[in-house]
Amino acid sequence: MITRTVTIKNRAGLHTRPAATLVKTAARFQAEFTILKDEFEINGKSIIGVMTLAAEQGSALELRFNGPDELDAAAAVVELFERGFDEE
């Protein structure tokens, strides 16, 4: 298992569209993907879970990947956050 910490850069936070992009990206990999924020822990491959996070701009999230392709999964997902989901 590997762990990464990211900060949400895009202004609107993890609203519907970025949430969908995140889930779709994670689904490409076998590795389990968990997001932790405050006391919440949700499955990063579940759109309803990600929507529940209410993660706004500036929030820090802990991402956990566990599985054979965890490194690739982590790289792809972290890149999304770094690009701010290609939004403003």
Partner: protein, 587 residues
């Protein structure tokens, strides 16, 4: 409650008689409000079937949402479509659905409860967040949950209702009415609605007794309670005693005998004593009714409501499917004619839930919807034209309010004809077209409307509510909805005269045409065609055959001088009672 009377253990509740007949049996309380899905343990062996039901329901919910979404992309703000997008994504959330299926398997509880319990967790979390954005998302989640649960339950509805029962509900949609009818339904009882609500019209067509407008009956009755329903007088009796039951059975007997006497005139034509011929035809919505219509002595179908084909589906049927249905109906009606009215639906049917209309009756419905959706209109026109080869098919457009709409509808018809011609597909090149006159603007312009078409058909249900500005389903103003209001009578006269000036025949396919109290008046106003629900055909024919056109004209002239619906109703009742005492009319 002032409409409730108690006598011993009997409780009598007065409502509105919506469909005639007597029904006695156990109540089945049908609640559409999903407050909470009931938890129900299931057997290990039922697990696979339960999961199949869940998957079917999710697939249907997805279909519904995609349909709405597609539409929303054309008509709505992109911001509003996002809500739908999020909902569609939740339905496709494999983690969520996997969890729900796993829980059904391990906890052995019914699908709707697990859906409710699992999705509610997320809803609660969203509601506990401090910002509005998350509260809105909670609503989306709630919508999705209800959509899935409703789809699970709809499917189960059919199997859950076992044995005969009287359906007790707050209100019934035509779709509900149809679903229930596939089971052994003895009758319908509802809190809301009036004589002209679609559920009432449908129950009359299906010959299922119904009493509506009972206000709070769903709170007074429990599933399994024995009730007696009197659809002639509009009352229901809870815990009926032997004496009441006997009275009701005698009443049913009396009405049935009258109906049998009527059957003798089935094969005779609808003609007055002084030989004015009246076209008497039937309003139907389902192909199965055609035979019943013939048995009742109709000369044809004056209104075939094609929207019955849309019930329970999310897209209009294909041209081929429609063509086959229309062809069979035309074939079964031959040598008489059938008038197909193109889909007359509110926007909510073409795009369920896509947008909320503050005032749907003044909104996107009838021809307005079809002119905005040429794909649907053209497919239907082609299908109807193809079914016209025996030259007994006519086409009618609903809710027309402007001359421009007639022009545009005719352009689409011309396009459909050209397409068929170039494809060398046969159809009746002289197919006749008409419009429904049911909007005051169409009534005012009736003469010019008539110059554009081959016939006019007065749709009284809508016409009355638009002329009088009364929502017939709103209990607060429902008493103002009066078909014998002088304004309504004068409007009808204006339309008939306008049609005749242009040598166009004028019919009526609204409820009023089927009211025996109105028959003499309408014949006297010069109405050429009555299109009525099949069950009242013999009675209307009996009246037409018992009067003189000359006398009917005098009755109409006198009624037109009167100033209140009460006065006109009382006058017409006297005419019937004095001249046609064998016709049973409710005072």
């Amino acid at each position: 409650m002032d409409n409730v009377q108690t006598h011993g253990s009997e409780v009598t509740i007065k409502g509105i008689a919506a469909a005639p007949g007597i029904a006695i049996g156990p109540a089945y309380l049908y609640s559409k409000q999903i407050v909470r899905a009931q938890v129900k343990p299931i057997d290990q062996r039922e697990v696979d079937a339960e999961i199949d039901r869940l998957r079917d329901a999710v697939a249907r919910a997805e279909k519904e949402l995609h349909k709405i979404f597609e539409f929303a992309q054309q008509k709505l703000d992109p911001d509003d479509t996002k809500i739908l997008e999020a909902q569609i994504m939740i339905l496709g959330d494999t983690i969520l659905m996997g969890t729900i299926e796993r829980r059904i398997r391990t906890e052995l509880q019914n699908a709707e409860y697990i859906v409710f319990d699992e999705i509610s967790k997320y809803k609660r979390l969203m509601l506990s967040a401090p910002d509005d954005y998350m509260h809105e998302r909670a609503h989306d989640v709630d919508d999705v949950m209800n959509r899935i649960i409703r789809n699970i339950q709809n499917q189960k509805l059919v199997s859950r209702l076992e044995g005969e029962a009287i359906i007790v509900s707050e209100t019934l949609t035509p779709a509900d009415t149809v679903i229930f009818t596939r089971n052994k339904v003895l009758g319908y009882v509802t809190d809301l609605g009036g004589v002209t609500s679609h559920a009432a019209i449908l129950s009359r067509a299906l010959k299922i007794p119904a009493v509506v407008g009972l206000r709070s009956v769903t709170r007074q009755i429990q599933t399994g309670d024995i009730i007696a329903l009197d659809g002639y007088s509009g009352i229901i009796v809870l815990n009926p005693g032997e004496e009441t039951l006997q009275t009701l059975r005698r009443k049913e007997q009396r009405f049935k005998e009258f109906e049998e006497r009527l059957s003798e005139i089935v094969s005779l034509t609808a003609e007055t004593l002084d030989h004015k011929h009246i076209e008497l035809s039937a309003n139907i919505e389902f192909s199965e009714e055609v035979k019943f219509t013939k048995d009742q002595g109709s000369a044809g179908v004056g209104l075939f409501r094609t929207e019955g084909f849309l019930i329970g589906r999310t897209t209009a049927p294909s041209e081929e499917e429609q063509y086959e249905a229309y062809r069979d109906i035309a074939e079964n009606t031959f040598p008489h004619t059938v008038i197909f009215r193109v889909f007359d639906v509110g926007g909510d049917k073409v795009a369920p839930g896509a947008f909320h209309e503050q005032n749907p009756f003044l909104g996107w419905r009838g021809i307005r919807v079809l002119l905005d959706r040429p794909d649907i209109l053209l497919t239907q026109l082609r299908a109807i034209l193809r079914a016209s080869t025996r030259k007994n098919v006519r086409i009618m457009f609903p809710m027309v309010s402007t001359l421009t709409e007639i022009h545009r509808a005719k352009e689409f018809l011309a396009q459909a004809r050209n397409e068929l011609e170039s494809q060398k597909i046969p159809f009746d090149r002289k197919v006749k077209i008409g419009v429904m006159v049911e909007v005051p603007s169409a009534a005012v312009m009736a003469e010019r409307m008539a110059s554009q078409v081959d016939f006019l058909s007065i749709g009284t249900n809508d016409l009355i509510q638009y002329v009088l500005a009364v929502d017939r389903d709103n209990n607060a103003v429902a008493p103002l909805y009066q078909q014998f209001d002088p304004a309504v009578l004068h409007t009808i006269k204006h339309i008939i005269d306008a049609g005749h000036k242009r040598n166009v025949w004028v019919g009526m396919c609204g409820e009023m045409a089927g009211d025996p109290l109105a028959t003499v008046l309408l014949v006297g106003l010069g109405l050429d065609e009555f299109s009525v629900i099949p069950s009242v055909l013999p009675e209307i024919k009996k009246i037409i055959r018992s009067i003189r056109y000359k006398d009917a004209r005098r009755v109409a002239e006198k009624a037109l001088t009167m100033n209140s619906p009460e006065e006109i109703r009382a006058y017409l009742s006297t005419i019937i009672r004095n001249q046609l005492p064998e016709i049973p009319i409710e005072p």
